[in-house]
Symmetry: C2
Subunit: 227 residues, 2 copies
DNA sequence: TGTACATCAGTGAACGCGCGTTCACTGATGTAC
DNA sequence: TGTACATCAGTGAACGCGCGTTCACTGATGTAC
């Protein structure tokens, strides 16, 4: 997306809504969610702030649009990464590689586009705001597909299939956050790389590995339980 | 911490720096990092904004102080959780329980004090800003200790000890984020609970489970490698 | 023990900024007859 | 085919807000003699 120059044909824009969304995405890319403002978007399109209110109820709605843009771009990066997974007869191997590729794409995106990544996960003031539906069709969908494949291929037993994608997702997402804004943010590229490898290894072994003994499992459940 | 009422004895405050830090922490608690401002902190202490500049170089420095407060409180919650881990002769069992308790404390804190949690991980404008040293003495230290214990007890082989704490931390942190501001934010308490159990299970199995076959490992490394 | 004075920790007013949002308006568009 | 007019998509000016930060200042404190 390279709208940039505020070219206008006449008094009417013709596609102002989309132009504002593009501008919002560029602002998010450059400065994160805090930089996504109605005034800045209007300015960059070359239009009065008031004009934006013809197309958005308010600031919150523009930010929501920026979030969705960020998710789309993230999904694209992950898709590219997935395309490079080698074909092979071994379904388990392929599914695990897909999983690793997804993780890598996730981190790549977080690192290459920190502004967009932060925007995708920006805290939303309105607690009732709906979940962006791009998740289900984008990044999360890719992950779920890989897990299904892992189960079909026999690596991940059906009884341990539930929430497998959440556990995997958490690991990769947390890693991205810790290295982006968290206490690992000053680590060099190599240790970041090794951490990604190690995290994905732990996830994969954890999904396919041996089950815990019954009483240990009970202990952990007890500790982890609410209240 | 319950400073609240802007009581002043005379012209001089006597402990303004700490009072401002306390106020900053309360602002963070109530409204997250965005609510931590010099003016608001001064206001709540009952002092002129200018006065704050006697004790802080600027806004950034006050926010940093709030972050450290947030970390301290987080460490406290995790410490309480750890105290409830049952003593037992089985060192492995105990260490794994400690790990689960740490994870639970982490999530409990994120849920009970979202403002503080977000503040602890707030994006810092200055890329050179140092890592809060409270990490090493607080939450992260607890995790490292548990991992050491796990290795000493024989559950986690020495060759797979490196980065184990990072992998575990990532899983729990990611989970907290996904449920706090992320796409799982509208999930009910029960599914949140089950996700925590499952994530911790995956981490623990992943740490102690069987190693991957050499060539699969090579494949994953290849995919996960930089560039 | 008393006093002059340097130092410290606050005040009060002001600066400029960018923001979200609203108002009455006007230029362009397109449709009914 | 031409024209009146409703509708739509913008403008321009203004509102009030809270912010970070700086200035010259003043009240309180404590130390040297």
């Amino acid at each position: 997306v390279t709208s940039s120059a505020p070219v206008r044909t006449g008094y009417h824009h013709g596609d102002l809504r989309n132009a504002l969304i593009r501008a919002a995405a560029e602002l998010a890319q450059a400065g994160g969610p805090g930089s996504v403002t109605i005034r800045a978007a209007a300015r960059s399109v070359g239009v009065t702030p008031t004009a934006a209110y013809r197309h958005f109820a308010g600031h919150e709605e523009l930010l929501q649009a920026a979030k969705e843009q960020a998710l789309d771009q993230m999904s694209d990066v992950m898709g590219e990464e997935l395309l490079r997974v080698p074909e092979t007869g071994d379904r388990v191997r392929r599914a695990l590689c897909a999983l690793a590729a997804i993780g890598r794409g996730y981190l790549t995106f977080a690192q290459a586009e920190p502004g967009l990544f932060r925007t995708a996960f920006a805290h939303c003031a309105d607690p009732e705001s709906p979940i962006e539906e791009n998740w289900d069709t984008g990044p999360f969908r890719r992950l779920t597909d890989a897990m299904d494949e892992l189960t079909d291929a026999g690596y991940l037993p059906a009884e341990r299939r539930p929430l497998a994608e959440v556990a995997a997702w958490s690991g990769v997402h947390g890693l991205a956050m810790l290295y982006l804004d968290g206490p690992l943010r000053l680590s060099d590229a190599e240790s970041r790389q090794r951490a990604l490898e190690r995290t994905i290894e732990v996830i994969i072994v954890g999904l396919g590995g041996n089950v815990l003994s019954a009483d240990l499992r009970a202990d952990l459940t007890e500790i982890v339980r609410d209240r």
